[in-house]
Symmetry: C2
Subunit: 269 residues, 2 copies
């Protein structure tokens, strides 16, 4: 069985930066998961970098803001408590937050294409004045506003973003479209699509709560049989019966060692 | 088996008015279904009142606007064509359209609780400037605006409207809540709920595309076993096996003769 790996996969620069920054700390707290990957979260935990779910959970120490960013009110709370803030927000996410703020102040309604309830989305929302979060073409069909700016969570599907843009063009009089899907996401989606077309089965590696990994799974599933896994333990021998080729891709928050381990396991079958 | 009928059910004044107005016409066209009930639509068709799906379908004659109202652009098109317009829009629906217009002009964003794509909703949307249609508490959680006015399609569930109001209160700085669910809807929902609590099975009679009938079905289903039917033909003897009591209710667009026929059939079992 031939194993083909996607040209672009695994850690993006934003994730790498966040992990590097976190690893420089000792006994810090992370507000949520630094990146949406169970292996990395476990590794950080062992190094004394503990996950908390709310700023209310601590009174002192260092607080790491995750790669997805956080809400303005969380930052304010942390400042009031006098916590030392280590902000690992991905610069590309920060840019979307800034655009939401800028276009809000110019009188635009913000329409954000994103996973409802995702931490990146919550952070962006907190920077805008009038904002609606939509996650599909169907949602877009129910927004009728005069002047709006369409932004995207950095890890969304470009195909869906284009579909949504098309719908909004007919419902919004003055529409400013800014595609804020990051280049790393785009490259990983393109690479995954390319190999999915050539193989009998795709393996998508990454956290089940990772937005960009979920997108890779969605995209590949439309093309070929696809399995989304987090660890080697989930691999089933029968998936590969009668298959001549398997493709591998991984989300932007999946560490190299996990990809290598899984690749090795598949090759051994 | 005891058969209990809801105190309030069947034709509301808006539906009665629309049917009366339509029956005074000869060879007119209706833009969509006058009311969402198959038997009434069939009866009108036999009297020469034909359903069309678009104003583009006709060049002359009389055009009946349905009880649910229609969009501003449809009315304008009909005027330009010189069609005679018979407007049966329910006065309570007209009021919601007017409120959407009024609060839009006062700088409010309109949040409309309604069935996405329903003709009443489309008509209201066309009267507002900035409007978002939401159909659930989950949708409401993704709207963050400064100054908004919450309105409702006239046939929605009051319980859901209250849930949505609660969510929006925390997301919208200045929220004006106007409960535009009509009294007939409220009374039919209350009556249905009252008997649903007392019986072993509820029969909800009305068009499958009738918004208010769907609401009655949803409400009763939460309380007891419930079947939504349009005609006697759908009744199944086995539904009533071992049942001691059956409740009957009907949507605001269900004519009396249909209710009587179904009641008679059930009593004969």
């Amino acid at each position: 069985m031939k194993v083909i790996c996607a040209e672009n996969m695994g850690f993006c620069s934003g994730v790498k930066r966040a992990v590097d920054m976190a690893l420089k700390q000792k006994d810090a707290f992370v507000l949520g998961q630094l990146i949406h990957n169970p292996q990395v979260v476990e590794m950080l935990d062992k190094k004394g970098i503990k996950e908390i779910s709310s700023v209310d959970d601590i009174e002192k120490g260092s607080l790491i803001i995750t790669a997805h960013g956080t809400t303005k009110s969380n930052v304010e709370k942390a400042k009031i408590k006098g916590l030392k803030i280590i902000d690992t927000t991905c610069p590309l996410v920060k840019k979307v937050q800034d655009l939401a703020k800028e276009f809000s102040s110019k009188g635009y309604d913000i329409i954000l294409f994103g996973d409802k309830g995702h931490s990146e989305v919550k952070g962006i929302v907190s920077n805008a004045e009038n904002i609606i979060v939509i996650s599909s073409k169907e949602d877009a069909k129910n927004v009728f506003v005069k002047k709006a700016c369409l932004l995207s969570q950095t890890t969304q599907s470009i195909e869906k973003f284009n579909e949504i843009s098309k719908v909004l063009k007919s419902n919004v009089n003055e529409l400013k479209i800014i595609n804020t899907i990051c280049n790393a996401t785009k490259k990983r989606q393109d690479s995954a699509m390319n190999i999915a077309k050539k193989v009998d089965i795709m393996i998508v590696i990454g956290g089940y709560n990772s937005a960009n990994t979920k997108r890779l799974n969605e995209i590949c599933s439309k093309i070929t049989e696809t399995k989304h896994i987090e660890t080697t333990r989930e691999i089933k021998k029968e998936w590969f019966q009668g298959k001549k080729s398997v493709g591998i891709t991984a989300g932007a928050s999946t560490p190299d060692f996990v990809i290598k381990e899984i690749k090795k396991k598949i090759e051994s079958l």
